[in-house]
Amino acid sequence: MFDQLKKISDTVWEIPPTFKAGMRVPARIYATEKLAREMDMQVYDQITNVATLPGILKYAYCMPDGHSGYGFPIGGVAAMDIDNGGVISPGGIGFDINCGMRLVTTNLTYDDIKPHLKQLVDELFQKVPAGVGASGFVKLNAPEFKKIITDGSEWCVEKGYAWKEDLEFTEEHGRIEGVDVSKISDKAIKRGLSQIGTLGSGNHYLEIQVAKPEFVFDKKIAEVFGITIPNQIVIMFHCGSRGFGHQVATDYLEKFLSVMERKYNIKILDRELACAPFNSPEGQDYFSAMKGALNMSFVNRQVILHRIREVFSKVLKQDAEKLGLNMVYDVAHNTAKLEKHKIDGEQKEVLVHRKGATRAFGPGREEIIPKYRSVGQPIIIGGSMETGSYLLAGTQGAMDQTFGSTCHGSGRTMSRTRAKHMYRGEELQKDMEKRGIYVKTVTFSGLAEEAGPAYKNIDDVIDAVHKADISRKVARFVPIGNVKG
């Protein structure tokens, strides 16, 4: 397949619309040659299917961490012209609506933490439930849950689970307007009712990391983002909207399948690309419900931060404020958002789907908080549990090329089944501890599934987005403690 790609640059490859019947735009793969060669055929098949969606603008994009998903590949981005029949597709967002990342700084160094690391991780493992059937400490009834999905992180401030300033450092200030709870099924609410404050499973995690000075690539932006101390301890975690979001996605995928062809005469190449015109009743209903899941996920991550602050405060015997447990940012990587972008010299509001892709707004964008506006928004990219993670900044290049989008993680290269055959979780845990990473996991089979070699090399992925100028490298973080879902 690689030989059929047209090289646009060292990090951009194009599949022309002639490749597949029905393609309305070309597909563009953001990757180095190495990563592009290694992408499996399903990625190319899926991204060219995305290029057939009604109303798609410019290109169907795949980021360098791209791998096969359903409907969209993971790492897929597509912007839709909502004024000209552009569609919204749950497959372009994913089942885990607003799966995302949160990064928190501390004023601690590795030497401060080292004597307490095991205790911190053990306590976090207790306080932040993970795995099948995990239940959070926040006890809610349906009416209160509906308040959460409408009010987002503002609910957390009211209940004492957030510092007011946390909202400023969250995308959408932790609350997106326009949720209509009547568009959300009781099934979705029942699935999510007890899951606020839980990590989930699979590739979800909570990590204590170190910002080593040799891995701070842009000191100026790092300081703006709060990375100011050599060997500074940061905390990063990855989770989403749990069963609530999964059910919202399922409900609307089924709804769209039932109306798409019959009512809107839309034919698609993959059922997981089921869609409806954004401005249709069904499209608007899903958008409203999806926003509810967005808000719920912000609340989930906010409550987890609350627990992290409690644990650090308890173990280190100081207030969380004194420990400097401040947010850097919270980003979503499974969403669809209405955003203004320049197309053919004119500002236009479009719907941007990002599935396993992160917003990467560059300097000057009004959506970025004043503190960060001059340097671009923070982008938090999780690597595998064995390798490390990154903090990037959004660029004008992203605005010009990818509707302000970039990668979201490493991207898998090995199936979960194969990883479980090749690795034993108990051995992996011991091996990681020898290498200075203390891991607490809910299940050893889950740990095996997340073995480092099951993922692409995060450094390769980050180099690709940096070279393509759709993100700028700021810092790399080394894991030292991990709670695995």
Binding site: Y70, G131, G133, R242, R416, T417, T443
Partner: protein, 152 residues
């Protein structure tokens, strides 16, 4: 021999299965076993919690989808995991009607038996079709085959 087969290279981030059985009852029963095998050691799950499930669908694929969707819903909404299923499928007025019983227990998060959570049944590679296969005695049988992918 397990009644389901994990498909390694269908979906790297998720779990894909193939089920072959002599009839739809067997295939849907074993699809449920495969789904819960991702989440728990199904042989270690008790049967004190019983749920009766009725599903109606236009075709076998929708039937499989709705069946697994309902089980995944119960997992989160009622904190149940299941290790045994009885399935009876009939047809009436052109519709497929499933009456199922799921036997399980409240989720304990016992690390000895817990595995990885399942978020959803997807429509990706979802297929239920009539299938001719050799049984263990090498007899040719007319049966059914299903493939599906679970979002992990």
């Amino acid at each position: 021999m397990t009644p389901y087969r994990a498909l390694e290279d269908v979906s790297v981030a998720d779990a894909a299965f193939e089920i072959i059985g002599k009839d739809l009852n067997e295939v849907l029963r074993d699809a449920a076993l495969a789904t819960f095998s991702e989440m728990v050691d199904i042989y270690a799950v008790g049967g004190t919690e019983i749920r009766e499930i009725k599903i109606e669908a236009d075709n076998p694929e929708d039937l499989l989808f709705k069946w697994l969707e309902q089980l995944i819903y119960l997992k989160d909404a009622e904190y149940l995991w299941f290790g045994k299923f009885d399935v009876h499928i009939g047809q009436k007025g052109g519709k497929y009607l499933l009456e199922g019983t799921a036997y399980g227990e409240k989720i304990t998060q016992d690390p000895k038996k817990m595995r990885t959570d399942v978020k959803a049944i997807t429509r990706h590679k979802l297929k239920v079709e009539e299938f001719v296969f050799d049984d263990v005695e090498k007899k040719i049988r007319n049966g059914w085959r299903a493939t599906f992918v679970l979002d992990i």
